[in-house]
């Protein structure tokens, strides 16, 4: 059964439908792979093999009864930011270490209703705040990829680094992620997989531990574009429990991935050619442009003049919202409590012990930019510049159907690198943050390897609620790139270190 984790979701669905294997066999193969390889990767915070087996048995029973859902029997990994009823949900923070949600997030409830099997809860940066997975209170995640000729451990990116590592290492057929400023797309690029941040409002935020509510969006991570399209279809849809959920019909994303790009106008934004970008990233971008041109797309140079303000705006807006959202962790109703002399002392000790340094930094930045004397100068100003960033995209999309850019300014870096100066870490998100601020959908597709043998991703950005076009462009890039490289650590790969 060692070959089962190698399958795509589409192929696994076919295999299950043709009864070549059962959901129980498929799930068992993945649970065994997790048991064998996760000690090296630390991709999971909580593994749930017994629960997975139960879900797989139910999936097989449902299929036998003729009630197979769209994801019947497909083993997935769930980012530990999605509340799962009865299964501990930590957000990779000590403050939520004992938290067992009494309810299910809408996205995971929809995946369950479609018949998916959950293998466990994946590691992430604490409260999704980071680009390396180094801020998790449950230890760093190791990228299954290594540089050619080196055993040095690399980061999987973040914040959905555990989900990315699990999918890349064949420990799950797909995973859920969340993306606030690049947390699906950057780890997807770092691990050679595909990930989509849908339009804000496409997937319900109900039951997802909140970081920055005006930016957070759930999305799928998988090993190819079609698999992402299948997952996105099951995750999307209107939810009355989320006041920002969009009342939109869910299109046939899987069909869109096969559309092709003939006649599409693809914009190449000049401002994404940032200073200090490596020649390899530049060359990859040029290759991507050529691939789309060869398949019949028209390439148009465009300008997004406020791109350079994306990061500063993001690092005001996101911490501001985080400081408000994280006020709820006070040790009273759930989570960890540290006793004190009185109520205030209890709050202070609980928060001092429960939050890690990056979370504390962002809460402090957030409370500062929202404070009475600085609100207008920082928060309000940032919101106005955010409006200009959205306007940039709207003007661009009057001329083009989608944009092509690199996903990240570098390949995966070493565990512990870029930790000295938070700003160096924040620069990872330079290409992903603007789409988050504008609320438009974007995806990362693996497009090649750098000179050290590490995967690099290209990003496709689309119009609001036009995930279909980015899937079409992503599919075209995937066909042209023919990305078949495999990570060193993977189920069935035999690599042990």
């Amino acid at each position: 059964m060692s070959a089962l984790p190698e399958l795509t979701i589409a192929a696994a669905l076919d295999g299950l439908a043709e009864k070549r294997f059962s959901a129980v066999e498929l799930t068992t193969a993945h649970s065994e792979a997790i048991a064998a390889l996760d000690p090296q990767l630390n991709a999971f915070i909580t593994q749930t093999p017994e629960l997975a087996l139960e879900m797989a048995k139910s999936a097989d029973a449902a299929r036998a009864a003729g009630n197979a859902g769209a994801l019947n029997g497909i083993p997935l990994a769930i980012k530990d930011l999605f509340c799962t009823s009865g299964v501990r949900t930590t957000a990779a923070s000590k403050i939520l270490e004992p938290f067992i949600p009494p309810y299910e997030s809408t996205v995971t409830a929809q995946l369950q209703a479609a018949g998916a099997v959950f293998l466990g809860k994946t590691n992430l940066d604490e409260f999704a705040m980071g680009s390396s997975n180094m801020t998790s209170a449950y230890g760093a995640v190791t990228n299954p990829w290594t540089r050619a000729g080196s055993n040095a451990k690399l980061v999987p990116g973040g914040s959905s680094g555990g989900s990315a590592a699990a999918v890349a290492a064949r420990l799950a057929l797909g995973a859920t992620g969340t993306d606030t400023g690049g947390s699906i797309r950057q780890p997807a690029a770092f691990t050679g997989i595909t990930g989509i941040k849908p339009t804000y409002g496409r997937c319900s935020r109900y039951g997802i531990v909140a970081f920055a509510s005006s930016l957070d969006q759930a999305g799928p991570m998988a090993r190819n574009v079609e698999d992402c399209a299948i997952l996105l279809g099951a995750m999307s849809g209107f939810d009355p429990k989320d006041s920002t959920s969009a009342e939109r019909a869910v299109p046939d994303f899987r069909a869109a991935a096969k559309r092709g790009v003939k006649g599409l106008r693809i914009g190449v934004p000049a401002e994404y050619r940032v200073e200090g970008m490596s020649a390899e990233i530049e060359a990859l971008w040029t290759r991507g442009i050529t691939w789309l041109k060869e398949q019949g797309a028209e390439i148009i140079d465009i300008s997004l003049p406020h791109t350079k303000y994306g990061l500063p705006v993001y690092y005001i807006v996101a911490p501001a919202e985080a400081s408000a959202n994280l006020a709820r962790y006070d040790g009273v109703r759930f989570g960890t409590r540290v006793d004190g002399e009185d109520l205030i002392d209890m709050y202070e000790r609980t928060r001092a012990a429960g939050f890690g340094p990056e979370v504390k930094r962002r809460i402090m930045i957030g409370t500062y930019v929202l404070s009475a004397g600085y609100y207008d100068a920082y928060y309000l100003k940032a919101q106005k510049v955010r409006a200009l960033i959205l306007r940039d995209f709207e003007q661009a999309f009057a001329k083009v159907d989608a944009l092509l850019t690199p996903t990240a300014p570098s390949a995966a870096f070493g565990l512990g690198e870029k930790m000295d100066d938070p700003v160096t870490m924040y620069l990872n998100d330079v290409f992903t943050v603007p789409a988050s601020l504008a609320g438009v959908p974007a995806m990362s597709v693996p497009a090649g390897l750098d000179a050290q043998g590490l995967p690099l991703g290209l990003q496709v950005i689309g119009k609001h609620f036009d995930e279909e076009t980015i899937l079409a462009v992503g599919g075209a890039l995937e066909r042209a790139a023919g990305f078949t490289a495999l990570p060193a650590i993977r189920a069935g790969g035999g690599a042990t270190k």
Partner: protein, 52 residues
């Protein structure tokens, strides 16, 4: 950056706030809610004394 005359953008949603009917949609789940409480007394969350 010149932001003269630019209205601040507070959210990512391209829509107006939706209102729902003012009706009870769930409730009577005190035990579920208290299950995660670090400390409780009966059907209440317990905290250190706040009145002298």
């Amino acid at each position: 950056v010149d932001v003269a005359g630019v209205a601040p953008l507070s959210g990512g949603a391209q829509m107006a706030m939706r209102l729902r009917d003012d009706v009870v949609t769930d409730g009577d789940i005190a035990e579920k809610i208290l299950a995660n409480a670090p400390d409780r007394e009966g059907r209440f969350f317990a905290v250190p004394k706040v009145v002298e």
